[in-house]
């Protein structure tokens, strides 16, 4: 799902850049990615000549820059250090500081190292990977491989790579080849590309080349029938509560106030997710809310004030626990304020909100689009055989009797149907069925429509034609905004089929906004 991508990406880059930036991101809007990505800066710094200092002080600086990663950093320093090195694999969950620790460790290990870094997630194909690695190698070396054709087969790549590397190594340099996001390769070409990559050490047989793999998948994801050179593993566990607190506290302007806030907010949020990036994204607006009653942000809170602040932030905390990310909209902000005063009852209603939609609709949608959405929802949920019963000439007004009849079916039969429904998800439907249902429900609720419809409808016969006129346009809009999805055309009928993606909560909200009795038309088992 794409709903949490945007905040994750920004916070990831900021969290991985420096812990000081992680908690203090109120200035950066969540959508714009900082142009010079911090990781790229780190990369440039790692490739450039490092500050050469005394060994011990450098170690201390490194450990300081990697809070909670002491054991891993020491392991890295020891395993990466002098030249002949067996391949290394860093693995651990997302947002555990793998890449950052590696790049920082490489930065001050060697003055004359050459670093080749390939983040496989940003390279869509093997060809792009080969091109990226070779261009990084040849950019500064004397080889003229830029004029040559780019290799697209692993065999050509390994040959070209060996040529490029031997040129550099003969000058006595050590080359570090880093493959980040290794787990992505498994989806390329059924993993056929993975074997040569993982066995580069065997294939190259060059002792001055250090191979480092970074993966968020566990090592057993890479076992295959040809798995001889297992790398040395360094495991990055997720941060514990205390480590997360340290990271978030790092470089905060008012540590006293922030720590009293974290002591309230971190524990409950930690039960939901343990990832620093997600936590910092949730905590940042919460902290602003926490500070609201305070006039002076420099204030050091005492016990009484702490209690007061806690009571102030508690309802917001309950909301924050139940959403993945919040869209800062004016309407919802005001509403949250109201909710805070109204108490817990209305807070509950907010939980159902999905994709930033709370109990009231907060986006504009034309009436016909709303009806279309509802008919698509009905077409997806209800079995097609019941359409006639639900939408007969009486307009579904006497459907109570029929519904009762269908619910008298035997119990276990019902259960299996419910199970099947849960498994299959929403059904697909052809365009004709959608239009038929649309026509039915608009004709039924004509009386309601009269209130909403524009008064100067020149067509004399009915308002529904006005609604029907641009229905195909509305349909494509709904498809584009991912309320509906268009699946492949059915091989028998040849026409495209649609599926509604919205859940019941949203459908009920839409129905409420146009005063449409949706529950009357839903087939309940």
């Amino acid at each position: 799902m794409s709903q949490s991508v945007t905040p994750r990406r920004t916070t990831r880059s900021s969290a991985s850049a420096s812990p000081s930036a992680a908690p203090a991101t109120p200035s950066s809007p969540p959508k714009s990615r900082p142009k010079p990505s911090p990781r790229r800066q780190l990369l440039a710094a790692a490739a450039a000549a490092p500050p050469k200092e005394d060994g011990s002080s450098v170690d201390a600086a490194l450990l300081d820059a990697l809070p909670g990663r002491r054991a891993q950093a020491m392991d890295l320093l020891r395993l990466l250090a002098p030249a002949p090195v067996l391949p290394l694999m860093l693995h651990g969950g997302a947002a555990t500081g793998k890449t950052r620790a590696l790049l920082l460790a490489l930065r001050h290990l060697r003055p004359s190292q050459r670093l080749v870094y390939a983040a496989l997630r940003s390279l869509p194909s093997p060809r792009a990977l080969f091109a990226s690695i070779l261009s990084q190698l040849s950019a500064t070396s004397f080889s003229t491989s830029s004029r040559q054709r780019l290799p697209d087969k692993p065999s050509d790549f390994v040959a070209a790579l060996r040529d490029a590397l031997t040129g550099i190594i003969s000058q006595g340099e050590v080359v570090y080849l880093v493959f980040d996001n290794l787990e992505v390769v498994r989806s390329w070409d059924k993993g056929g590309q993975l074997l040569p990559l993982l066995r580069l050490h065997d294939l190259l047989q060059l002792s001055q080349v250090v191979l480092v793999y970074v993966s968020s998948g566990t090592p057993d994801a890479y076992y295959s029938m040809t798995g001889s050179v297992e790398p040395n593993y360094v495991y990055f566990p997720d941060y514990t509560v205390d480590e997360v607190r340290d990271i978030l506290m790092h470089g905060h302007p008012n540590p006293k106030l922030y720590s009293s806030f974290l002591s309230v907010a971190l524990k409950p949020l930690f039960r939901v997710t343990r990832r620093v990036d997600e936590l910092s994204a949730v905590l940042e607006p919460l902290f602003r809310r926490y500070c609201e009653p305070l006039g002076d942000l420099k204030a050091v809170p005492d016990e009484g004030m702490k209690r007061r602040l806690f009571e102030h932030v508690q309802p917001h905390l309950a909301v924050a626990l139940n959403e993945t990310f919040s869209v800062p909209m004016r309407a919802s902000m005001d509403e949250v304020k109201d909710v805070g005063s109204a108490g817990k009852g209305s807070v509950k209603r907010q939980f159902a909100g999905r994709d930033g939609i709370s109990s009231e609709l907060e986006f504009h949608m034309s009436v016909s689009a709303k009806y279309l959405l509802l008919s698509a929802f009905l077409a997806s949920r209800n079995p097609a055989t019941l359409d006639a019963a639900l939408f007969d000439s009486t307009g579904g007004s006497d459907n109570h009797k029929r519904k009762r009849k269908s619910s008298q079916a035997s119990r276990d039969m019902k259960d299996t149907i419910v199970e099947e429904m849960l498994m299959k998800g929403p059904g697909t439907f052809p365009l004709e069925r959608l239009l038929a249902i649309f026509q039915c429900i608009t004709s039924v609720s004509e009386d309601i429509l009269d209130e909403v419809e524009c008064p100067d409808n020149m067509a004399s016969e009915s308002e529904t034609t006005g609604l029907m006129s641009d229905v195909l346009l509305q349909l494509s809009t709904l498809c584009n905004s991912n309320f509906l999805s268009k699946s492949r055309s059915c091989p028998l009928e040849g026409s495209a089929r649609y599926r509604s993606n919205i859940d019941e909560d949203l459908a009920l909200k839409v129905a409420r906004s146009v005063h449409f009795p949706l529950s009357k038309y839903m087939y309940r088992r």
């Binding site: 692993p154 939901v272 998800g425």
Partner: protein
């Protein structure tokens, strides 16, 4: 102090260099008379001196030094007959495609004989070129040695490469040796009839070394010799420490648990590499502690580790999935899991009742950690909630990790246990 540190880092560099050098690791093979090394060397040397064709397969599990033996033999022979040998290396992982392999052979032949290589040449041209070269080299009494690593991968498909190679070797003029290296013991059974009949059925079998020989190997690799540039006093002290560790009873235990898991040489090498990396840099000596640390880092269980990293909500979802599997649901998806989760929350009234979206994010985290996965590849068009999923961990692992987890609520434990003993 500074001097000791630099001695230590120099010693560490020496040790690391040895561990990464296959020739040093397998040097023991060179000395004893009745090894695969001497057999292979005799075979290749005799075909070089008698100007005949030959072929041999080296078979054995991974990490037993097959490729290292080939390398040592070829290095020795190159020294003995500098002008009479040219080596062509192919790897099944890279060159299993016949056209690609032919091209690679032509490329390496051109490189060896200072000819210009045409990238545009067709596969037939390359084959013809190879046959011509074989004849020319045969007339010049020069042996071409083909080393085919991952031999079994060449036996996929039509085996055109193997056929044309072995067929060209049937003529009297040519002078070539094919050395196949494979970890499949039945590699020769994979050959087609026409290829098999042209193949000499010489096989050299490699077996993993015994615990005793592994200990000898460790001794050989870790002991510093006195003629290194390192100070003699340090070398003596260091060697004394190593011998004392080797005679320790704890060390026997470490060695046993290491070889129980995997007794190949490469595994031992990785272990020793860690040990040397964990060397105490102040004194420059190895300690029992570095062996213990290396062992514990080798014996991690990735699945258990990532189970320990889960948040409470993620554990709830795993337990719910486990309950569904115990109830013998043939397949289930996120919506079914949520139904189970709701019923659990209704029954126990815990504080961990979260909304659908938050649960879905936790579900996605589990997918990312590969503790659960989609049950099939069908239905990619379906949204994620409705795709059937399955657990990738056993209920035993889950129970164990819940026991180890100190923050885990008691309800969760109960939910898992009750289901299992009911």
């Amino acid at each position: 102090m500074a001097a000791a540190t630099s001695v230590a880092s120099r010693a560490q560099a020496v040790l690391r260099g040895r561990l990464c050098d296959q020739a040093v690791v397998h040097a023991a093979l060179r000395s004893s008379p009745d090894t695969n090394y001497s057999k292979l060397k005799y075979l290749v040397a005799s075909s070089v001196s008698e100007a005949c064709n030959n072929s041999v397969l080296l078979l054995g599990p991974r990490g037993c030094g097959k490729a290292a033996v080939v390398k040592m033999v070829l290095d020795d022979l190159k020294k003995e007959h500098p002008d009479a040998i040219s080596v062509i290396r192919l790897n099944g992982m890279l060159h299993s495609d016949d056209n690609c392999a032919m091209k690679e052979i032509a490329r390496q032949l051109c490189l060896e004989h200072q000819l210009s290589f045409s990238k545009m040449a067709s596969s037939d041209d390359n084959t013809e070129f190879m046959i011509d070269m074989l004849r020319e080299c045969g007339l010049a009494h020069k042996t071409i040695i083909f080393v085919l690593e991952e031999f079994d991968l060449f036996a996929q498909g039509k085996q055109r490469l193997l056929y044309s190679l072995l067929d060209a070797m049937q003529s009297l003029t040519s002078q070539a040796v094919v050395i196949g290296v494979s970890c499949r013991l039945d590699a020769d059974q994979l050959l087609e009839k026409r290829v098999r009949s042209r193949f000499s059925h010489r096989k050299l079998l490699f077996v993993p070394s015994s615990v005793d020989s592994l200990q000898r190997l460790m001794d050989h690799l870790l002991t510093l010799s006195e003629d290194t540039p390192l100070p003699t006093k340090y070398v003596r002290e260091y060697n004394a420490r190593v011998t004392s560790i080797f005679s320790d009873k704890k060390f026997k235990g470490i060695l046993n648990s290491l070889t129980d898991a995997d007794a190949t040489t490469s595994h031992i090498l990785r272990f020793l590499f860690r040990v040397v990396s964990y060397m105490d840099m102040d004194s420059g000596l190895l300690s029992m502690q570095s062996f213990m640390n290396a062992l514990s880092s080798m014996q991690r269980q990735p699945k258990m580790d990532s189970l320990q990293d889960l948040s409470i909500l993620e554990l709830y979802i795993l337990v719910c999935m486990n309950r569904l599997e115990d109830k013998e649901h043939s397949s289930y998806n996120f919506t079914t899991i949520m139904k189970e989760y709701k019923s659990v929350q209704d029954a126990y009234k815990t504080s961990d009742k979260y909304s659908h979206t938050v649960c879905f994010r936790a579900f996605e985290h589990l997918l990312g950690r590969e503790l659960i996965s989609f049950a099939d590849n069908r239905g990619r068009t379906l949204s994620l909630e409705y795709r059937p999923v399955k657990l990738l961990i056993s209920s035993h692992e889950l129970a164990q990790s819940l026991k180890l987890n100190t923050t885990c609520p008691a309800v969760l434990q109960k939910l898992l246990d009750r289901e299992r003993y009911m």
